[in-house]
């Protein structure tokens, strides 16, 4: 499984969204169920999946599908 598929899987599991929703619109502000609890659950899933540990700043910034990809790039995970 490539990184994109692994990344997408996490979003599908956490937010129960379909493939058509995996795009630039998928963000905390647009999705009701993306609350603080979900935020951390998502970050934990990402950290476990890619075996990395994000800094506080990056955890707080992880608020959209696209931003998440940019953050992962800082940890040498290219999605």
């Amino acid at each position: 499984m490539d990184n994109l598929e692994r990344y997408n899987n996490i979003f599908r599991n956490e937010f129960k969204v379909g493939n058509d929703q995996l795009n630039g619109d998928l963000a905390a502000g647009n999705l009701k169920q993306w609350d603080s609890i979900k935020q951390l659950s998502l970050v934990t899933a990402v950290e476990d999946e890619f075996d990395i540990m994000l800094d506080s700043e990056d955890i707080l910034d992880f608020k959209s599908y696209e931003t998440g990809k940019q953050i992962l790039a800082k940890y040498d995970v290219i999605v």
Binding site: D35, S36, I37, K38, Q39, L40, S41, V43, T44, D55, S56, I59, L60, D61
Partner: protein, 461 residues
């Protein structure tokens, strides 16, 4: 005035909120006088609370003027809110401006983003010592309220300020909702000390929250176990927060591992970590573990707060005298509330508890007299800081779906047993919506049958 706010330094700041608004003690006094000129007699009002200056000022003003507020979340499910208004018929509502379209009542006063609506309901007598009301459970939609006296709130503010050693220079993060007993305790204890409360509606995972904390140089943080889990996840120990000197925890039991981590962090960095124990029925805190015992008494709630006492009782209700023992924890103190209310007539009732509260928690006392919570008698869970009554959830499911069910669980997971497989998904969504619980904190289990004993009472699993 409430907590002698008129005797504090007038130019000192009482509160700052997310809107960068600030209010001094002098302005708070002026506000109280203005607010109370619109409510002419001792009546019941509802405050639809948010963590902001409008909400806080309304509360302080009401208590200063002998008006009795029910503090309830502005996010209260609207059906429940209507029902509460119908049952208790308050004279006025003090609500955020943006909610005023929802009501047909007449606006009579605006200030700090809040508006006072006059309902016109005829009023009724209230017990002379009744100061304010809080809901028993913010989440399961019960109209049952806890009745607080003037002495309860004054004693609580004074004693909490005393054991936290609060000073007028302190600036506390007020992140827990003010309609939640511990959130209110943060506010009242700091006002008592003439200190500043930093009121925020932001959550720990918002960047703005941390900017707010840094800009205002917060000196203390109070959270529930879940808040401490989130802080840990956010690499709190690596954050640069030089002004933050005091961490206080309540609202349920922190895991021993996290307790140890925070105690050690505090010791290493010259901060104080203070675990506390409380309930709405005890005007928040009833016990605390002094900071210097945090590393040696992992998981303990310590001893009774100043002015109170703790004891243990056996199954028959008789006090256990041995030093080291386990039993139901009973608290005596001036902060034990008057009792409950389920209708307006109850607001005329006097003190039914007489300073004694059976906590419903099973505790162990060690040879040093420190208490440790080990279980619970009453059927409540504390999930993510929310108190959930299992009996209420059962009732909610039974009336909403007309199916049989049994609720049980622990402080990590609520378990709901049903027999209808096809209801599983819809029931799950229903519970999430009604309780606001995180979906992973709820497990629905389908059984062939639900077990009950001969008397027809449920056998809990």
């Amino acid at each position: 005035m409430f907590l002698d706010i008129d005797k504090k330094v007038k130019s000192d700041i009482a509160a700052i909120d997310d809107y960068s608004s600030r209010i001094t003690y002098g302005q708070l006094c002026d506000f109280s006088v203005a607010f109370n000129s619109y409510i002419t007699s001792r009546t019941l009002i509802f405050i639809l609370s948010e963590n902001c200056i409008g909400s806080l000022s309304g509360f302080v003003a009401a208590l200063s003027g002998g008006i009795v507020p029910l503090l309830i979340s502005s996010n209260t499910e609207r059906g429940l809110l209507r029902r509460l208004i119908e049952i208790y018929k308050p004279s006025c509502l003090w609500i955020p401006d943006n909610m005023s379209d929802e009501f047909d009542y007449k606006p009579i006063y605006h200030n700090s983003g809040y508006v006072l609506l006059n309902t016109g309901f005829p009023q009724y007598p209230l017990y002379e010592q009744l100061s304010f009301l809080l809901p028993t459970s913010g989440s399961t939609g019960s109209p049952k309220l806890v009745r607080h006296s003037y002495n309860n709130i004054a004693a609580s503010a004074r004693n909490v300020a005393s054991f936290f050693e609060l000073k007028s220079e302190d600036r506390a993060i007020g992140m827990l909702p003010m309609h939640y007993t511990m959130g209110l305790s943060v506010i009242t204890s700091h006002l008592y000390a003439g200190a500043t409360v930093l009121l925020t509606k932001k959550s720990l995972t918002d960047k703005e929250f941390w900017e707010f904390v840094k800009v205002n140089r917060a000196t203390s943080f109070t959270g529930v176990p879940y808040s401490y889990e989130v802080l840990y996840k956010l690499r709190f120990f690596r954050m640069d927060l030089p002004d933050l000197r005091l961490l206080t925890q309540g609202g349920g039991k922190l895991s021993d591992q996290l307790f140890r981590e925070y105690a050690e962090y505090a010791e290493k960095t010259g901060r104080r970590f203070i675990a506390t124990y409380g309930q709405t029925e005890g005007t928040a805190r009833m016990a605390y573990l002094p900071a210097d015992l945090a590393t040696s008494k992992t998981g303990s709630i310590g001893k009774a707060i100043p002015g109170g006492s703790l004891s243990l009782c056996d199954d028959t209700g008789i006090e256990i005298n041995e030093n080291e023992a386990t039993g139901e924890m009973v608290y005596h103190g001036p902060n034990v509330t008057l009792g409950y209310a389920t209708n307006p007539d109850d607001l005329l009732k006097g003190d039914e508890n007489r300073g004694m509260l059976k906590t419903g928690d099973i505790a162990r006392r060690d040879t040093d007299g420190c208490y440790f919570i080990v279980g619970r008698i009453s059927r409540f869970l504390k999930l993510y800081g929310l108190r959930i009554s299992l009996d209420e959830v059962e009732q909610m499911i039974k009336s909403g779906f007309n199916i049989d069910c049994i609720c049980s669980g622990d402080d990590e997971m609520m378990k709901i047993y049903i027999t209808e497989e096809d209801k599983k998904t819809v029931l799950h969504e229903f519970i999430v919506e009604k309780t606001g619980l995180f979906h992973k904190a709820i497990e629905i289990i389908v059984l062939d049958e639900l077990k009950r004993n001969e008397a027809g009472k449920t056998i809990y699993i």
